[in-house]
């Protein structure tokens, strides 16, 4: 058990089976393989990198805790998204305006060119518009637009019906279209 093997070629269900037997190296591989999507979803939902990383860490610890009961009936990523979605919906909302400035990469540096400033402002506008959405609409938009999940996959990740997912997406994109009309036409 103390020897390190190259597990990067193993698929997710196999890694989960090894993890259920106590192979922590498998957990490390799963983290490296999926942390980008987990952190990305958490960051876009919460708006703060530190909170997103805390949430992501907790998500992977839940993966560990559930390893012995995990059954590969759905794609591992979908199952992982369900954990992340639940954590997002349970997360305490922190002030997002402060988070936007805290995460501003240009703060304190040399003023960037005009186009870069416009791009940053657009990015902030998008972030603000998404994070102003009601929680369920925000979740489905993040999963649909940024994580590339289909309606069916979103339904699996959220345990909501496909009809509910469809309705949430319609309302979310409608709101976003209104709030980002200026940027969308530029």
């Amino acid at each position: 058990m103390g020897q390190r093997h190259d597990l990067s070629n193993l698929d997710d269900p196999t890694l989960m089976a090894r993890l259920a037997q106590g192979d922590m190296q498998s957990l490390g591989v799963l983290v490296q393989r999926h942390e980008k999507r987990v952190r990305g979803l958490a960051y876009r939902y919460l708006g703060r990198q530190d909170q997103a990383d805390d949430l992501a860490q907790e998500a992977f610890l839940r993966v560990l805790r559930s390893a012995s009961s995990y059954e590969p009936t759905a794609a591992f990523a979908t199952w992982l998204y369900r954990i992340v979605v639940n954590l997002c919906l349970d997360a305490v909302r922190k002030p997002r305006l402060a988070a936007l400035s805290d995460d501003d990469p240009a703060r304190g540096s040399v003023p960037p060119p005009e186009q870069a400033m416009l791009d940053q402002e657009k990015c902030r506008a998008v972030q603000r518009a998404v994070q102003d959405l009601p929680e369920r609409q925000r979740i489905v938009v993040l999963l649909h637009r940024f994580e590339g999940l289909t309606h069916a996959e979103i339904a699996q990740a959220t345990t909501w019906s496909e009809a509910a997912v469809e309705s949430l997406l319609v309302r979310a994109y409608s709101l976003l279209r209104q709030r980002l009309a200026t940027w969308a036409s530029s």
């Binding site: 058990m1 993890l19 259920a20 037997q21 106590g22 922590m24 957990l27 490390g28 983290v31 490296q32 942390e35 952190r39 990305g40 960051y43 876009r44 990198q49 990383d53 992501a56 860490q57 992977f60 610890l61 560990l64 805790r65 390893a67 012995s68 995460d103 990469p105 791009d119 657009k122 990015c123 998008v126 972030q127 998404v130 938009v141 649909h144 637009r145 940024f146 289909t150 309606h151 469809e166 997406l169 319609v170 994109y173 409608s174 976003l176 279209r177 980002l180 940027w183 969308a184 036409s185």
Partner: protein
């Protein structure tokens, strides 16, 4: 979902437009939708607005994290590992046994019985201590008992 057979009569609804832009429609469905859009300026305008929103959303970049979470996750996992394997269970039992043994070794000892030398005790005291006086006879202790010392 089958072909969009009513596309020539009714406009495309929002769910269809969303799936079209997200590339979730089958080839046949996409063909039907695009044929309708070519003939319907109203749906074409709605589709263009939705696509523009889709594109501007895509400009929201997430900052690339400076480091992987793997070391922190593994460290946290070591702190609260719920999985029990035969090896870990054996280690836990061994630890419990070792702890029990350590506790036993640390139990305060009974005070050692005093060192007794027959030379310092009178024979009749020995008889009384051994309960021999109840037997009614007193052996010649000085001949029977050698010097004894109990060292514990």
């Amino acid at each position: 979902m089958g072909r969009l057979t009513l596309w020539s009569i009714m406009c495309l609804d929002d769910p269809i437009l969303i799936k079209l832009i997200a590339n979730e429609l089958s080839d046949a469905q996409r063909g039907d939708a695009q044929a309708h859009l070519a003939a319907c300026p109203l749906c074409r305008a709605r589709c263009d607005e939705l696509r523009a929103t889709w594109d501007v959303l895509g400009e929201w970049d997430v900052p690339e994290p400076a480091h992987s979470l793997a070391p922190a996750v593994l460290q946290a996992a070591r702190g609260r590992n719920w999985t029990w394997t035969p090896m870990r269970l054996a280690a836990a039992i061994a630890l419990a046994a070792g702890t029990g043994a350590l506790l036993a070794l640390n139990v305060p000892r009974q005070p050692a019985p005093p060192v007794v030398s027959a030379r310092t005790v009178a024979p009749d005291q020995v008889v009384q201590a051994l309960g021999l006086d109840a037997l009614g006879s007193q052996p010649a202790l000085g001949d029977v008992f050698a010097e004894t010392q109990e060292d514990l």
